[in-house]
């Protein structure tokens, strides 16, 4: 069956002009080469993101719903 019930430009499966944020964050926060060894980098690691936004980016289970 057609699988894009709310079809829109951003759901075109092979378009990368406006990718879904969740797909992007899968890759930008968990993938990508990680270079360490610089003082600035070591404090600017995306672990910072995990502190604030883990609840949104990561698994939000029914037990811990999003705060908004």
């Amino acid at each position: 069956m057609p699988s894009w019930p709310t079809a829109g430009a951003d759901l075109d499966p092979l378009a990368d002009r406006q990718v879904a944020l969740v797909d992007l964050l899968d890759r930008l926060l968990n993938g990508g080469a990680v270079l360490t060894g610089d003082i600035v980098l070591s404090v600017a690691d995306v672990d910072l993101v995990h502190i604030s936004l883990r609840a949104v980016i990561r698994s939000i289970t029914p037990d811990s719903p999003a705060p908004w």
């Binding site: 019930p5 990368d16 992007l24 890759r27 930008l28 993938g31 993101v49 949104v56 980016i57």
Partner: protein
């Protein structure tokens, strides 16, 4: 070079010649210009950005809300995607910031062998995402409602319980179907891919698609097989009622840029082993300088 009140934000790394030839790139984070920095045989694409906005405190503030994170992620991705199309094959993780361009060049030289290994592995490949979903707005509710309407119920409470049970059974059936579908899709995809990474199924506020994400996989696909890969996945993933397959890409190979090439088991058809890795499992281990954390990506 970098001014004292600036730091260097790095998007992607490639061989020096390809970085130099990348040409005009979209504006980077904070609207900053993107320029090449060379170190040895390698080059990086770098923006000089204000230290107060991209140092520790600035980044913490910038990434503290979803809008700020999204703006930075999209800017990073736009540069990486354009660079990747120009042959700069190694994307860096979000928020890779160095004190200045000299430090970037020094890291390129210090890590040259390792980075060249990654580039050898990734050049000429693209990443494709494959997600399998169970359920959706239609399948979830309609069967249950129909069943309970057909069966006369002795009381409103009993009708409610029957309806709930039918909905639950429908969801479980859709999950089973999606799990089987995920196995078929993963098998077809692995046959054409050189590596695979299992991402965590998408849940929560950002997972906006209908249905439940059962499998969230990434595949590393040689460019000359990209067309047949997409076709094979779509053929294997012809959705049954209650299931859905979504393909994304081509992406720069973010999900495969973390593995050390030296000890990684991906070469030699390692991608074809096992099942779909539905819902859990580990990607290839051996992150580049990864400071810890979970390995399920």
């Amino acid at each position: 070079m970098t001014a004292p009140d600036q730091v260097s934000y790095v998007y992607a790394i490639g061989r020096a010649a390809e970085v130099a030839a990348a040409g005009a790139l979209p504006a980077g984070v904070g609207g900053a210009e993107v320029l090449p920095v060379t170190g040895g045989t390698l080059g990086a694409l770098v923006s000089r950005v204000p230290a107060d906005r991209f140092g520790e405190a600035g980044l913490r503030e910038r990434l503290d809300d979803l809008a700020g994170l999204e703006a930075m992620a999209r800017a990073h991705h736009e540069v990486v995607a354009a660079a990747y199309r120009a042959g700069v094959a190694l994307p860096l993780r979000l928020a890779t910031v160095y004190a200045d361009d000299d430090r970037v060049a020094a890291v390129l030289r210090d890590r040259e062998a390792e980075l060249l290994g990654l580039l050898d592995r990734l050049t000429g490949h693209a990443e494709y995402g494959v997600k399998v979903y169970a359920g959706g707005p239609q399948e979830d509710v309609v069967p249950g409602a129909a069943d309970s309407a057909a069966a006369p119920a002795s009381s409103p409470g009993r009708a409610y319980l029957l309806r709930r049970r039918a909905e639950r059974d429908g969801r479980r059936s859709a999950q089973r179907a999606a799990g089987a579908l995920a196995d078929r899709v993963a098998e077809a995809a692995s046959a054409l891919a050189t590596d695979r990474v299992v991402h965590r199924p998408q849940q929560g506020a950002l997972a906006t698609g209908p249905g439940e994400n059962i499998a969230n996989l990434a595949f590393l696909v040689p460019d000359d097989r990209a067309g047949s890969f997409v076709t094979a996945v779509q053929d294997a993933g012809v959705a049954r009622p209650g299931t859905r397959v979504e393909v994304t890409g081509p992406w720069a190979p973010y999900s495969f840029a973390t593995a050390l090439p030296a000890d990684a088991p991906q070469h030699g058809g390692g991608a074809a082993d096992g099942g779909a890795g539905v819902a859990d499992g580990a990607g290839p281990d051996g992150a580049v300088g990864r400071p810890g954390g979970e390995r399920v990506r």
